[in-house]
């Protein structure tokens, strides 16, 4: 498959301003040297805890923030190097769905206005075809044509998220950034939206960048997954590999902290000590080392680079897979004690 998006060494530091003259005293290193790619028709899942920079990556791709350095190559062109006018054209091809369907729809606009605003702005189709297009979009996301005259408050959370999906689709995008699209929804409605996204991908061949913190949801929908920690990408792998043969200790801890939905199969849990450090002053070396129980001296001074350990499986860790052996050692030791 062809690459639709390539992110290379992306960096975004937000200044922290203080005092009377609003001098910059420090930087929040929200995204620090992140690289990945998304292929056509693929879903790339991006997971991590709050503050790890996953939403910032999404906003950088849409150029809602301008990157400090690095490249975002979309269909062969670098979005970061484009001027405002050139960008506007490209913007219609990359769309976003936000987490909160209550905050992301204008309460004073009817659904038909919400869906046609972008079409009119970008002159995508002749004016007289717009009502038909709105009806088609509504049908596509499982709503009724009659809903076009309603206001957002007349819909439930799940239906609003459908409207948000329809708005993104109105531009015929090639890539949709889904920023926690189901986190605010109830379980039974969440399944409806996830199914809708999968169906649309099959029908229209759209690629998704799926940002979420729910691991089970990401596993369900993604083809490949990237794990972020404190502004750094720590592991990228195809979904099956990441969930079974992950090599980074943070990925291991993150997966281990997810509750399983079977009361008889509760696994031995590795609960991470401590909290996520402040991104203004991240730890030296590997950013995960203060919370990593397998860390040694090298980890605290040398930054591990993202490298390929198997085709398609990249890890930023000096000692990938070491937790498996150490874990085994621990089990063996405890068994010896018992024996």
């Amino acid at each position: 498959m062809e690459k639709i998006l390539e992110v290379k060494h992306l960096k975004k530091y937000f200044p922290v301003k203080k005092g009377l003259f609003r001098r910059t005293v420090a930087h929040v290193r929200a995204v620090d040297d992140v690289s990945f790619e998304i292929k056509g028709g693929e879903t790339f899942g991006l997971v991590g805890e709050s503050g790890c920079g996953k939403t910032t990556v999404g906003k950088l791709i849409l150029q809602l923030h301008r990157a400090d350095s690095g490249k975002i190559v979309y269909c062969g062109e670098d979005l970061c190097a484009m001027s405002g006018k050139q960008l506007q054209k490209k913007r219609s091809e990359v769309q976003i769905i936000f987490q909160d369907p209550y905050g992301s729809l204008n309460p004073r606009m009817r659904v038909e206005q919400i869906l046609s605003e972008g079409i009119i702005k970008h002159r995508l189709i002749p004016k007289e075809q717009i009502p038909a297009r709105v009806a088609e979009l509504l049908r596509l996301v499982g709503l009724h044509e009659g809903d076009a005259k309603k206001y957002p408050h007349e819909f439930s959370g799940g239906q609003r998220q459908r409207i948000a999906v329809a708005r993104a689709l109105s531009f015929n995008p090639k890539l949709i950034v889904c920023d926690e699209p189901v986190s605010a929804l109830d379980v039974s409605v969440q399944a409806q939206i996830l199914n809708l996204l999968v169906d649309l991908q099959k029908e229209l061949g759209i690629s998704y960048l799926f940002i979420a913190h729910g691991m089970a949801v990401v596993q369900h929908i993604s083809h490949r997954v990237g794990v972020m920690y404190l502004g750094k990408m720590v592991e990228i792998a195809p979904t099956e590999v990441l969930f079974k043969e992950h090599a980074h200790p943070y990925t291991h801890a993150l997966l281990s902290s997810v509750p399983v939905t079977d009361p008889d199969k509760i696994p031995e849990r590795e609960v991470l000590e401590g909290e996520i450090p402040n991104p203004i002053n991240p730890p030296a070396g590997c950013r995960f080392h203060p919370r990593c129980r397998y860390a040694c001296e090298k980890c605290s001074c040398e930054v591990p680079q993202l490298r390929e350990i198997e085709p398609g499986h990249m890890v930023a860790c000096h000692y990938p897979n070491v937790f498996r052996e150490k874990g085994k050692e621990k089990i063996a030791a405890s068994e010896e004690e018992k024996g």
């Binding site: 439930s156 379980v187 996830l194 691991m215 369900h220 902290s257 991470l272 996520i276």
Partner: protein, 328 residues
């Protein structure tokens, strides 16, 4: 132990809405034994939080009203107690922690003073003793350098730390029942695992019962002994945790479990429960789930369903639940 610590019987709670009473909680009955964890699961608006507030008698009247039923705690009728006695129970015998620790802590007081306030309300002790106990509680819930954190204001702490402070406050008077209303929903997965383990350890240490309210089936599976599933203000099914997950009987429970994406299990499409939760003004006379139920019969929407035993300890609110297997 078979003595029940808490018994909720036929609880009804209504709220005034557009001049009419809307029944938000209907005919809710369950009991909690000492040292037991009961999970209360349901989607938003299913009445889980209202139920827990009714147990604490925290429903503001108006607009809310407890319209029927009883809550017995240790043999005492909670709804018949005078307000003064109720204050002793609140925080003393039954404690509560909420979802968003930032809004439930007072931003104007230090964490230490808020915990010692709770201690002094329920125990006779000097201010200094209470403050020392507050620091001790913070140490117990795993707050690093508790002496320093006791002097910190809530905004100076992270979400996980704030929730620890809430837990320290709730447990400071050694309650026999802790109500945890979505205690980890606002937290990150690794912090969530820390807090859940902490609650579990403290429960064992103090020997208390837990009413755990959540919408996350994973949390229920790992932390509860028994589970009550709520939908649109009613309990649809109660059973022990492995029965709920391995042989659920109510069509809603079945659908809910199929609708969650599971780790280690790849499915092409998730199961859809069509439609959405009905509003409280548009509830049918009969089964609240009838409008979305794939097995709905002609009389489901018109005749009220009762919560009935299908086997020992397993109650289901669906009279057709035994025949579903054959139909499918």
């Amino acid at each position: 132990m078979s003595e029940n610590l808490l018994e909720v019987k036929n609880l009804h709670v209504a709220f005034f809405q557009d001049g009419k009473l809307a029944d938000v909680v209907r005919d809710v009955s369950f009991e909690i034994k000492p040292n037991e964890t009961l999970g209360l699961v349901g989607e938003s608006g299913s009445g889980k939080s209202v139920t827990s507030k009714a147990i604490m008698r925290l429903i503001a009247d108006p607009p809310g009203k407890i319209t029927g039923g009883s809550v017995m705690m240790d043999g005492m009728d909670i709804f018949a107690l005078p307000e003064k006695k109720m204050r002793e129970i609140r925080g003393g015998r039954i404690a509560m922690i909420f979802q968003e620790p930032l809004t439930s802590l007072n931003p104007l007081f230090t964490c230490g003073s808020q915990i010692s306030e709770a201690i002094r309300l329920h125990k006779k002790c000097s201010k200094k003793e209470a403050e020392e106990q507050a620091v001790e509680m913070l140490r117990l819930v795993g707050v690093p350098s508790p002496e320093r954190r006791a002097k910190a204001y809530p905004h100076e702490l992270s979400g996980g730390m704030r929730q620890r402070v809430m837990i320290a406050m709730a447990l400071s008077c050694k309650p026999s029942l802790l109500i945890a209303d979505e205690p980890t929903t606002a937290l990150d997965p690794t912090i969530q695992a820390q807090i859940l383990r902490l609650i579990h350890d403290l429960q064992k240490l103090n020997g208390m019962s837990l009413l755990l309210i959540t919408h996350d089936m994973g949390i229920v599976a790992e932390n509860c002994d028994r589970v009550a599933v709520m939908y649109a203000g009613e309990i649809l099914e109660i059973a022990d945790v492995s029965t709920i997950f391995h042989s659920p009987m109510h069509p809603y429970t079945k659908g809910l479990l199929k609708a969650i994406p599971k780790m280690n299990e790849k499915v092409e499409r998730l199961y859809n429960i069509d439609g959405m939760v009905p509003g409280f003004n548009e509830l049918p006379k009969g089964c609240a789930f009838s409008s979305r139920c794939p097995y709905c019969k002609d009389d489901c929407a018109s005749t009220p369903q009762r919560l009935e035993y299908v086997s020992a300890g397993h109650q289901v609110r669906c009279k057709y639940c035994r025949n579903l297997e054959q139909e499918a």
